[in-house]
């Protein structure tokens, strides 16, 4: 049994610091990581959680399974390129894929607000079915709760998923090595900019669509070729920058990327310029980075490009300074990539 001293009785996030939860505690940046590191991981302390991967890999004797969960609170519920249901399936499928697992079974829990239109619920359910079929997972269990009018935002969804590791190569940040190359599976920032354009009522005329998509086919394709992927991470809320920093931190390596190699579409770049945002920290829902040894990089990139022609070799890994991400800028100078506190705030001028 774990020593009682491991667990502190007082709240680890001091009241003086944050007496209440801020939006930034869920923003994918430093505040969220501090909540996880100070409150959740020490409280639930175990090796699988401590690995800080997208999901837990559980040894069940003859097989290894991956297990993950995620909640979806996106607003608006429908957006160009997808909806909350499609996100909820793809998000969990992708977390399993990032563990190197083949996604198989998913649970869906709905929290609905009283008065929510039945027709809208049906649209989301249909989307969940279509997305699950496309990703070849089954919805095998679920839950429904309804809260009073005014106490929910229409609809929240939680999904959990189980997958099986067919190729046990131990995909993990700790496998990242000196000399590894970093590959990105497509252009960045589409999901975040799609949602922001709708949410902020910017009335921007653009064709941009969310990139939400299942990544499992591509990942299985890579693994079946025998490519020894050292680590993968899908790019979600905190964007490419935060994902790289998480891996650099967890692996104790230095990741150096080249800004010119990072694909960003014209629309995303233009919207980022107008709003004063950095595409490096804008959310994605269908992109991931893979760390492979140099001899595997050509095959990896070729396969990635057969799914998305924008896939690119964006950087490499060395050992020092440990835990740091740097970027060669467009004008050939070097800058540090730091994790944001919370979400990016639009600048004033």
């Amino acid at each position: 049994m774990r020593d009682i001293k491991d667990f502190t009785l007082s709240c680890p996030i001091s009241v003086q610091e944050y007496p209440s939860v801020m939006l930034a505690h869920g923003g994918g940046g430093k505040l969220m990581h501090s909540l996880i590191d100070k409150m959740f991981i020490p409280s639930f302390n175990n090796q699988m959680l401590g690995a800080q991967h997208d999901g837990a890999v559980i040894d069940l004797g003859k097989v290894k399974a991956a297990f993950t969960t995620d909640s979806y609170v996106v607003y608006p519920l429908f957006f160009p390129g997808g909806d909350i249901g499609k996100l909820a399936i793809n998000g969990t499928v992708n977390d399993l894929a990032m563990c190197g697992a083949r996604p198989l079974y998913v649970s869906v829990g709905f929290i609905l607000e009283e008065g929510f239109p039945m027709e809208t619920l049906w649209r989301v359910v249909k989307s969940i079915k279509e997305t699950a079929d496309a990703a070849e997972v089954q919805i095998v269990t679920g839950d429904t709760k309804v809260v009073d009018k005014g106490k929910g935002d229409g609809m929240y969804i939680n999904t959990s998923g189980i997958g099986i590791l067919e190729h046990d190569i131990g995909v993990s940040p700790t496998k990242v090595q000196d000399g590894d190359l970093v590959l990105l599976s497509g252009d960045i920032g589409r999901h975040g900019i799609t949602i922001m354009s709708l949410r902020e009522e910017l009335a921007l005329e653009s064709e941009i669509k969310s990139d939400t998509a299942p990544l499992s086919d591509l990942v299985m394709d890579l693994l079946e070729q025998g490519i020894e992927i050292h680590c993968m991470r899908d790019l979600t809320r905190g964007g490419l920058g935060s994902a790289l920093l998480e891996i650099a931190g967890a692996s104790g390596t230095h990741i150096h990327i080249n800004e010119n190699a990072i694909p960003v579409s014209r629309e995303v770049r233009a919207t980022c310029e107008i709003l004063g945002l950095d595409p490096l920290y804008v959310a994605n829902e269908g992109r991931f980075i893979a760390f492979v040894k140099p001899s595997d990089s050509e095959a990896t990139l070729k396969t990635m490009r057969s799914y998305n022609s924008e896939s690119s070799l964006i950087g490499r890994v060395d050992l020092k300074p440990s835990g740091i991400v740097t970027m060669k800028s467009k004008i050939s100078t070097n800058r540090i990539i730091d994790m944001l506190s919370g979400e990016q705030l639009p600048r004033i001028c």
């Binding site: 939006l23 004008i331 540090i336 705030l345 001028c349």
Partner: protein, 367 residues
């Protein structure tokens, strides 16, 4: 992307860097006035491309940084009211007052909304007739015309549930305050391209003469800044002091007359307290008597409130270019973007936050 990539081109940057190295024979200290320029300099590592003898000092041109702490407290008071919808630019939400920031008011249930244009607040006011809608009007001459237009329209349309918490500030008086201070180090300025797009640069011409200091109106892309630095050093090396314009694709000498007209219609020049610097005479814009009915301080009866700034933050010295952010004992230790002790650590345009974000390796290791 057209119109951006050509200003972020490595070869052209190298050419300007070489030119600057070629003409520089003495040490020079140049201040970029605008926080947007500071952000670009630190983000792109532009000072790596300059000779060691050229120092860039980061000026007071970050609206988030110079908004006085009293005004933040007033914003917190107003935003906490249940009958108010408080609208602000996003950056202002994390600026600490003496008792928290607007984000913490939001977490406690305050209706605080991020807007991109002050004109959006009129729509919110019309849609919420039972609420008081307040806009937090901060910024330099760049943001003042849109605020002025909003007040003007509110007046024309008779929108009574709209008001303004105003803290607009002006660049030229701040430059004079820096130049006339006893510990001034600044030998040349890069003036803010956006401000001059509105105001032109005729008002800098007397300053150039009076203090014999070159001022180059400069844009925000890496090549703009390198070219601005080059033009400024060329003047310094030749012993000239003139108001020059690097940012010709946006700035005319006389500026934008219509924008200036709407500012003059709604605002008058008032003394203003600058956070970290203190009172500067004739350095701000306040509502004219004709529009005083839209003054949120009067409407909510908080005009007389005052408070003291914590002495831990040396932002005044940073904003005047006397000290660099990392020369502060609290930088990266007790003062971080998560827990800013002062405003320059808040906004991405603030000198301290820009330094922290892009150059924090050593400081994190030491703390």
């Amino acid at each position: 992307m057209k119109f951006i990539d050509e200003y972020r081109d490595a070869q052209s940057a190298k050419r300007y860097s070489d030119l600057i190295h070629d003409i520089t024979t003495s040490p020079w200290a140049i201040m970029e006035v605008c926080g947007g320029q500071t952000h670009a300099i630190v983000k792109y590592g532009i000072d790596e491309l300059l000779p060691d003898s050229v120092t860039l000092l980061h000026g007071p041109g970050c609206p988030v940084c110079v908004t006085p702490i009293e005004l933040i407290d007033k914003a917190l008071t107003i935003a906490s009211r249940t009958d108010v919808i408080f609208c602000s630019f996003g950056d202002m939400l994390r600026v600490p007052g003496t008792r928290g920031d607007l984000f913490s008011v939001k977490a406690k249930g305050g209706d605080i909304r991020i807007v991109y244009s002050p004109l959006d607040t009129l729509k919110i006011a019309r849609e919420n007739p039972s609420k008081e809608v307040v806009f937090f009007a901060v910024g330099f001459e760049t943001t003042a015309p849109a605020t002025a237009m909003t007040v003007h329209q509110a007046s024309n349309m008779g929108i009574a549930n709209f008001s303004l918490l105003v803290s607009h500030v002006l660049v030229p008086p701040a430059l004079e305050a820096i130049l006339s201070s006893h510990n001034n180090k600044v030998q040349g300025f890069l003036a803010a391209g956006h401000v001059c797009t509105i105001m032109g640069y005729t008002e800098y011409e007397p300053i150039v003469k009076k203090y014999h200091v070159p001022i180059v109106v400069t844009g925000f892309e890496p090549l703009d800044i390198l070219q601005g630095v080059y033009m400024c050093i060329r003047q310094l090396e030749e012993g000239r002091a003139e108001a020059e314009n690097q940012y010709t694709r946006s700035v005319k000498r006389a500026g934008n007359q219509e924008a200036q007209n709407i500012i003059r219609e709604v605002f008058e020049i008032v003394p203003r307290k600058w956070r970290g610097i203190g009172d500067i005479p004739a350095s701000g814009l306040g509502l004219k008597e004709k529009y005083a009915v839209f003054d949120a301080e009067k409407r909510f009866g908080i005009a007389e409130y005052t408070c003291e700034e914590s002495s831990e933050c040396i932002s005044g010295l940073v904003l005047k270019g006397v000290k660099k952010p990392q020369e502060c004992g609290e930088f990266g230790r007790r003062c971080t973007p998560e827990h800013p002790l002062g405003a320059p650590m808040v906004s991405s345009e603030g000198a301290c936050a820009a330094y922290y974000r892009y150059r924090n390796i050593n400081f994190e290791k030491q703390s």
